[in-house]
Symmetry: C2
Subunit: 464 residues, 2 copies
């Protein structure tokens, strides 16, 4: 792949002679796109060039995934990976590297299986859903009823009692389809079902089950809840529509242990003039317990880390502090984001911008921003520096689960946006592995994060 | 989807008034495209219209897959499916429905597992390859060496002794990549390896292992041979290149029992004038023991069956006999095709054309033909009747494994060609299931097979 260089590169070489202070003195109040271009184009170009010539982020992601495996909250894998991250961040020479303890839910899958007994005997691939209870040791054997959606379940409510409800909703995008995962067990239990199964929340399958979070309601009996593949959901629906009696045995050892200690890991590039003012940036380091959590969200974490490492190596230390955070427990508790907010309550008002990368480090498009007109104008001006790598698009609405407590407190929130057409093919499945990512595309994400964080962290006060 | 109707349909209505005999009398010797058009356009159109309005083939395929499961040679599943086919063909009123016994290899997978012990403990997805021996009951535990290709194995031959050889060849198309499956165990054993693993033979994976046939050589020690996923092959290669020690335990119960009895199932639409002259058409009814063998090749079998059923229902009985055959044991022995040849030796010379459909019943393109100029001209003239459904392309070279003994004896061989871009995504894997096929596309295949077989079977003698 070739990269177009910003046409301002030559202008930038001239401007680079100006010192930081001089440049600020010369800048007008408010947003001035020409100023951003003249002041930061050279730095942006150095960042981009360096990001694209250094595959450390991808290599570290692969090393982490290969060495520690998936990183479910409460697991040794996660804490081993976090210890390696902290140690490696220190060896990178980053500032204030530290682990902050976070109590996290500790759900354990255990052994699990699903067997079709009638109309023919066959083992079916499945994944229990996060937070589900288990079955008795011998499992639950029951007839199945297959429905397309909650409306069909409601219409056929009298047929669901004592049965296993199988939801086979067609894929209508994640937002509309995921409800069967989150509240499928509640609705099935309301109808008297003894367990529930969902078609995995994905548009594409090669017999690949996808896990993810599910919920119970205190006033509704808890029943085991698991995902099956698109293939088997379609098969069960065909059998059911044909009038064939379906009998299944679901066995799950899933259980929830007392909360465990995990950690948010933080590192900084301390600001030169306003070190107490913070641009926070990161992803969630925990994952589900299948695949490697390479895409969701190991890649986002390590891209943010690499962005800061790269700025340090280039000697680009901004006026404000850039803090990179590996938030823990996004997947099944959000405790990392909540604990970060609590532990840093005193400095929340000092957070100028929070950036999360949790959409997979595929080829970047730009950022989605939730914030007022002032920060939007700033970010749009900065994003022009990313046009050379086609990553300068700023869209409405953005953020991330981990930064949502900050955002609720008024901190502008931004999410890295990418070409994630295949994101849900891999999401929460055994197929979320390193090979789904491309080193060059990941480096483009590093470049986008580094340029955005650096320039925003370095801009004059008058702009905010 | 809309279908373009042949522009000749109105002409055809006029010509339909002519009787079959009259039409022949009027036809010139040799190939006459205009004659085909005038004589058969109306019939072709009736076939196509009917094929596209009748989803019996897809429903039967789904029923067979759902009810009997995968159909490995030697399995009860296969024989149960064959009994259902024979019974249903009889209830369709087809002629001379019968089962012809075939002795087939009886390989049994048994239980199997692959565990990564170092550098971290993790179960890996795998599928033993067809014909492989098993391991001792406690498995084979050994260090692994990862190579890209046979050349690298040769260069590093001294490092392979006592190890498990993992082949991670990049996908370069089926023909170039499958050699690691077929002769990987031989080459690894030559180097002193104790077992061998291959990257599954597919361009795309969602943690999906693919099985398939492998070979041993009498003079080389037999070692267990299995496929792993693209994801895990890539991971093992990364670990290996990084210098991490890889230790695996491979456990396989695979073994080969004495040959078992299977069957070719045949049905006919007997010819009106030359019943001893035969157009034979079909696919292979056996499959691997994972997925449902819906694409490879249940769909091809049932499409051919449906083509004949449909001709019968339309009252389109050609002058010659169309024979549909569900050949057994294509996957791991080819015994069905060989036995058909032997059992029908007397009438081989009466086979005018052999058609196999074994490329998945995706949207058809046309046919690939291996045969002389005479049959090529005939088939090309007939194929024009399929232009209305974009299935009229005749290319060089075609046939199929099951019809290859006939072809070696001089019978022209033809294979249905389809838009099979995703064929190898599913091939020999748990993802070869009914949902990968589309009823409309399957019906287009039925139409193409029915038109081709009917018209060739009905043409004047002078054309051959």
């Amino acid at each position: 792949m070739t990269m177009r260089l910003p046409h301002t590169i030559f202008v930038a070489f001239v401007c680079a002679a100006l010192s930081s202070t001089t440049a600020f003195a010369a800048s007008p109040g408010g947003v001035d796109t020409a100023f951003v271009e003249s002041r930061y184009a050279e730095a942006a170009n150095r960042i981009i060039t360096r990001a694209l010539s250094d595959s450390t982020a991808f290599e570290r992601l692969a090393y982490m995934c290969d060495t520690f495996g998936p990183r479910l909250s409460g697991s040794k894998n996660l804490e081993n990976a976090l210890r390696w991250i902290e140690k490696t961040m220190k060896s990178d020479g980053l500032d204030n590297v530290r682990s902050e303890p976070v109590m996290v839910p500790h759900w354990v899958r255990g052994s699990e299986s699903l067997v079709l007994l009638e109309p023919r005997r066959s083992g079916l691939l499945m994944l229990g859903l996060g937070g589900s209870i288990g079955t008795p040791p011998n499992g639950i054997t029951a007839e199945a009823i297959v429905v397309r959606d909650f409306e069909e379940l409601e219409r056929r409510r009298d047929q669901a009692r004592g049965k296993i409800v199988v939801y086979n909703p067609p894929w209508k995008g994640y937002g509309r389809t995921v409800q069967y995962r989150t509240r499928g067990a509640i609705e099935a239990a309301k109808a008297g079902a003894v367990a529930s199964l969902i078609r995995s929340v994905t548009p594409v399958s090669l017999q690949t089950p996808h896990t993810g979070m599910m919920r119970y309601h205190d006033s509704i009996p808890k029943i085991p809840h698991a995902a099956i593949t698109l293939e088997d959901a379609a098969m069960l629906e065909r059998m059911h529509r044909r009038g064939q009696k379906i009998v299944l045995t679901l066995r799950m050892e899933a259980h929830t242990l007392p909360d465990a200690v995990s950690h948010n890991v933080l590192a900084e590039l301390r600001g030169t003039e306003k070190p107490d003012e913070i641009i926070v940036m990161g992803g969630h380091i925990d994952s589900w317990d299948v695949g490697d959590g390479a895409m969701d969200d190991g890649g986002g974490c390590i891209a943010a880390w690499q962005a800061v490492k790269l700025l340090k190596e280039l000697g680009l230390r901004p006026r404000r502090t850039i803090r990179v955070v590996m938030w823990t427990n996004e997947e099944n508790g959000m405790r990392g984001g909540l604990e970060y907010f609590d532990a840093h309550k005193e400095e929340v008002s000092k957070h100028l911008l929070a950036i999360e990368s949790d959409a997979g480090v595929f080829k970047p498009r730009g950022f989605g921003l939730s914030g007022n007109d002032t920060i939007r104008a700033v970010v749009k001006a900065v994003a022009r520096l990313l046009n050379s790598i086609d990553a300068g698009e700023i869209t409405d609405h953005g953020g991330g689960v981990d930064i949502s407590p900050l955002m609720r407190a008024g901190v502008p929130g931004m999410g890295l946006r990418v070409h994630g057409e295949k994101y849900f093919w891999y999401h929460h499945s055994p197929a979320d592995t390193v090979d789904k990512l491309d080193p060059h595309e990941m480096n483009l994400c590093v470049a986008a994060l580094a340029v955005m964080a650096y320039v925003v962290a370095d801009l004059p006060e008058s702009w905010f």
